[in-house]
Assembly symmetry: D2
Homo-oligomer: 434 residues x 4
């Protein structure tokens, strides 16, 4: 907020709306060390906004040095101008921090996608074992939405990080004909976009940025959901590293609480409601709204801190993630070949047609299920029982249909496609977006 | 859904995964007239998805013509593939309809912004009369967020309108090495984007489109909120036209229910919760989720119909909007000059400094308030009472500070800036986005 | 809606506001068979409410029989009166259906809690194996919140199921001094509560009922979440029965999609947003609101259908639930005693104090973890290594600390407490609540 | 949290689970002055919960006095036990504060309902002038939902304000057979309900309390919405008093920002999303959830502070509310009789039947509308134009149909009914609910 006030004073003096000396006196006091922040916060409750006690504190500070200059503090601006702009400046810092964490997540997941490109892991649908995929493909599919969010945040930031300067009703009436010039100079100094007019009640650009944060939290939540499921004691395919010093229990070394996933899931649960509140606040009355803008302010801060904490937790979690490919293999193996039923049916169908193939697999699966045996053995038994009838079945192909390595390798071919698409369509260019 | 099945069959036969004759037999049955839609819908309740009874109905139809071809219906696809793609195809139609309404809204608001560029109207903040602005500027500020949403929807559509084709677990395992080619051909036929991989549980691109719809509904809601406030019986600055045949009351000609605003406000109230539900559904488990994808489907349809109905209602409302500039003037006049207090203080401050000016205006305002008189008269009385002391006050400028026309004209200058920014930064280019 | 119109006509004629013949003519036409429902629904879109075309259709029907009587159709009522009351009448039917399913759920879960009172099952916290509890206690803890919701719905219904009869602005002006009597008679006929005044914009009693439905959906969602986790292929402690004919896969007998849990989870994901929309709609303007009431209507129906479908799916799921106590045991056993670490430490602490006990268990656990062995063996080895020092350790108690049966039996003692509390505090009395 | 730890220690020593001396040593350190709160809060970020650093700080404090006693700190409890119970204890204080404000609101609104029982004011529907009601009835209708919430909070509190004591997995395993007795003693000391079992993942009773807070915020929001509409500069029927020292503007005495309404509206906008988040968090996994409980905690605090601030702001606003009955009258008068059209039509219908009456009023209204005249005059002119035909019209009754006082008096009769219903059905009895 003090950065806004300093920039306003400087710009106003440059266009001769206020004396040069006044701007220097004001800017000199725009230093947070010179103000009693706790007192300003406390007073904001009764005042209904942070701006009123801050401007009062600043005016008093300036007045001690120059009573004349004190008359020009906040000249031409309204409370919402300084608060919105300060919120933009704070959000910019947040975006830098988020971008940093996203780069870390991106590189870790890309590395894991490569290392485990052909590592077999159960593919699960509707929370049931279904077929086999590769752990690398899972990582690539976790990565892609997060990478797109990083790209989108950089695209949106230059539109959303706007100066707010409208005066009482958005017309900059007090600044008169020099208003546009003041705004341009302020925007340059604060390195913000300079919109054609005030956005006191036109919040779409701001909400577009907020939406992307909410979407990012959902994409992170998807990763955390999967990690928490894969990290269950009975599944144990991954574990959060002890590096973070959290989640461990000295008495129960088997227990490694997934604290990183916990933080991300909590954020993913909360962020949608922040977003709904921001959207609900959009129909703001006339030139400045009653209650809705105030609600937006509070919700925005909540959204931002949730998402940043989720990014940090996810980056840390992935950095120290322990992956157990042998357990992944074992978990596939324990499904006794059932997850290859569809692949086997396809092979047999080539020889016998789809309906005979289906019946054969169905019978074999029922037998394997009842006896606790392997589907592959049950199928071979069935084929061997009538060699003449089933001569056309390609035994080598059938064998390969039951190969975990083969299924994972095939899944792994998609990893390259995903990474290439990210590079060509969502490659990061705008490194100075914020 | 039938378009998907036909495209799948054709693409599969082109790459020789299925016989050419099969694809022709299947495509011939992909005609909604040949299926009992009510029965399919009814069966979907128990089946847990629309895809299962639809594929059954299609298979039966094909089997009547060619039992051989029936074996290849839906070959290589999973339920979510056909449902997601169908949802994309339906959404594309919706986007075309929304785009059409937005063009109408855009041109009406641009016209109103021009016609009323200098029409004085009360500027209101926190639901209180504050200063004077121009009705044209209000219209331009209503327009800008809506125009940006139209632009954004066209930008987002090519990323979001994607083919879904992943097979059971997103690896297209059944399609084997030809999977990528099948997808490419299907995407071309259906005129959809062809993503690098399945997006069964990676919903960010889809949600980005949904977010923009939700933001649009908020921007429309802001217009409706203002129209409903300006249309109150006691304010009567605008009225919804009777053209729509709605909202009127034959017995009470004074009563013109703002039915258009009602529809838009209802949508703006509901859409944020649709969005929150969509975001909440993002952390979907593993390769395909349990319950969250199903919830997303239902919520998506609700969001789409809400937003389209809001667009249509807003377009109709604006087309037949009645504006009453004389009443706008009268409403300003009834504030007895109080809304010019700040402007007057600025003029006087040039002569007397800010604090004396402030005291003078404050006293005059209190007097005018107590006596029910005009602020301007009270101020002139005060200045006249001590001509020597107040000689430096620029009387002509003071007079002009109380001019409604002057205030509106100044506000009106922002209209050009807004329209120009829209043209340069958010001009519509991508006419074939959908 | 027709029930409302018939009751209104009868009550009005009984107090001589309208002729007796008119009420008979009107009531005779209040039969849905006599009206073109599709046409009424279609017309409601343009009219902005269902009431307008319905009243028109009813008036026309009556006019064919008695033009005189037609003048008294809907006399003294407003659109919101008939729609709100109809919504109340529909909701009552829904509550009856929900109450029926809840009784089923209640008895099934109470039975399971009894049967499995002492069945050991892993207790899991933060998605990690923690200790041992009993499956019966899990069932009792699933049951309690649902039973309380059934109780609460019966308590709330008589307050929420209210007649709406306020006329245009809630004063029943057209009915004059007989308004109260008309309302009393209508409430009696429709078996609804007769509130002191219209509740056009006072929705708290209605929302209280809605809240309970939303809470119920959350409690059902908790059960579904647990069932879906316990039913994972790798855990396999429960499975949804095939009785429902859903979720099975003929080719993959290992795969039993938890379709019931899916429906309940989807409802639990959606209902909170319905509730938020209903709450957001509460600040309705003046005597009847603009847009918010209309939004409430649509959201209410969505909430109701979600919750009923969740109740039905849960009742069916539980009725055919397959429980596998052997697998529950095996899953505990595979934790190699780690889940008894805390219990063991308590026993040893009695002899050695808390810190020595902790160190001993920690070392043994680390060894068991590293060697893939049992914690109990590692501990006994450690104690045996220095018999003198550890003589005071109660070996029988230590043995019992590692007993699955013992841990489950202890957990099972809570089942009785839960069931007793439900009976004494939340016993169902009000069997005619609806 | 320290109250919980002290009560736990005392209860455990009374049942001889821990030595008496230990409980005294522990309880002596359960004093917030002895702990570094900032350090505990700071450490909670990394620990993932407030309980871990608090228990550590307490253990260290106790250890300085008695290393032996330190071993029994937090004995048998889990982090969620102490945090949930602390949240309950904080919420109880909040409920006391809310109850106090609600009593104030209740008495102020009851007083206003009495004073203005017969004060005419425009009744407005869909934001349009409709008929005439009394300001007292508006006040009574604002009051009723708030009074019901006060009643409901007192009813719910004894069910929701529960001790949490379950140990690691909700079975109180460490406390063994004495668990139930420990819980009973703790509940007595802390004056909380003692539920049959832990409610770690059974949150319905807690959510029921939260729902009522959310409903209350909606009911307060309805009042604030109406006050903000009635307080618009152009309507000016009420104003927030200056007593609060807020919302005024020295330079613009006409401007009285409705700061109280602003706070209440912001809370009413935000609370629904808190509630949705709490409901979304209900499906918590197994014995203790991952992320959802943590999200609930944060959202709960947000809901509570929102609602308390809304209650306080509303109580203050109503206490200093300025009402302007003359302006209410004038606003009715400016509608030129149109708002009596329905009443007039009813009178005329008695003589001429509904359709002739309707036509007559419609014509007169159109004329009055076109000429800017009074509906009453236009009607009388029409009747006078054909005295014979219209002889049966009761002129005195027609006159009375246009009486503001008469309409208000009739509306006012409902005030008594509302107040009486509140007394008989929602009278406050349970003064020691909290």
């Amino acid at each position: 907020m003090l950065d806004f006030e300093a920039a306003l004073a400087r710009a106003s003096s440059e266009v001769a709306l206020i004396p040069r000396g006044a701007s220097e006196a004001i800017a000199a006091q725009c230093n947070v060390e010179l103000h009693d922040v706790d007192a300003i916060v406390a007073a904001s409750g009764n005042a209904g906004s942070l701006a009123i006690p801050l401007v009062k504190s600043l005016t008093e500070s300036v007045a001690k040095v120059s009573p004349e200059a004190a008359r020009y503090v906040h000249w031409g601006a309204t409370s919402q101008d300084v608060i919105d702009t300060a919120m933009v400046l704070c959000t910019r810092r947040l975006l830098v921090a988020i971008d940093f964490e996203l780069s870390s997540i991106r590189s870790t997941l890309a590395r894991l996608a490569g290392v485990h490109q052909n590592t077999p892991v159960l593919a699960r649908t509707l929370m049931q074992a279904a077929q086999v995929t590769s752990f690398g493909l899972k990582c690539a599919q976790w990565l892609a939405p997060i990478a797109r969010s990083q790209w989108a945040l950089r695209e949106l930031a230059p539109h959303a990080l706007c100066l707010q300067l409208g005066g009482a009703v958005g017309t900059r009436a007090t600044l008169g004909e020099r208003g546009a010039e003041v705004a341009r100079k302020m925007a340059t100094e604060l390195k913000l976009a300079n919109p054609a007019t005030a956005w006191h009640t036109g919040r779409d650009r701001w909400l577009r940025l907020g939406s992307e944060l909410a979407i990012l939290s959902g994409s992170l939540g998807k990763v955390a959901r999967d990690l928490s499921l894969m990290g269950q004691s009975e599944i144990a395919e991954v574990a959060e590293g002890a590096a973070s010093g959290r989640g461990g229990s000295s008495a129960m070394p088997h227990k490694r609480n997934p604290v990183g996933a916990m933080i991300v899931l909590a954020a993913a649960l909360r962020a949608p409601h922040r977003m709904a509140a921001l959207l609900s606040a959009m129909p703001q009355e006339h030139e400045r709204g009653l209650g809705n803008w105030q609600a937006e302010l509070a919700e925005w801060a909540g959204l931002c801190t949730s998402v940043l904490s989720a990014c940090t937790a996810m980056a840390n979690t992935l950095n120290s993630l322990q992956c157990f490919p042998e357990r992944m293999l074992r978990n596939v193996a324990e499904q006794r070949g059932m997850v290859f039923a569809e692949a086997a049916a396809v092979v047999i169908a080539r020889a016998l047609g789809k309906s005979q193939s289906h019946a054969l697999v169905e019978t074999a699966a029922a037998r394997a299920h009842a006896e606790g045996g392997q589907l592959q053995s049950a199928l071979i038994d069935a084929l061997d029982a009538d060699p003449k009838r089933f001569a056309a079945v390609d035994r080598a192909a059938l064998d390969s249909a039951f190969s975990m390595a083969e299924a994972a390798r095939f899944a792994g071919t998609h990893v390259d496609a995903v990474l290439q698409e990210l590079n060509t369509e969502y490659g990061l260019k705008n490194s100075h977006a914020f």
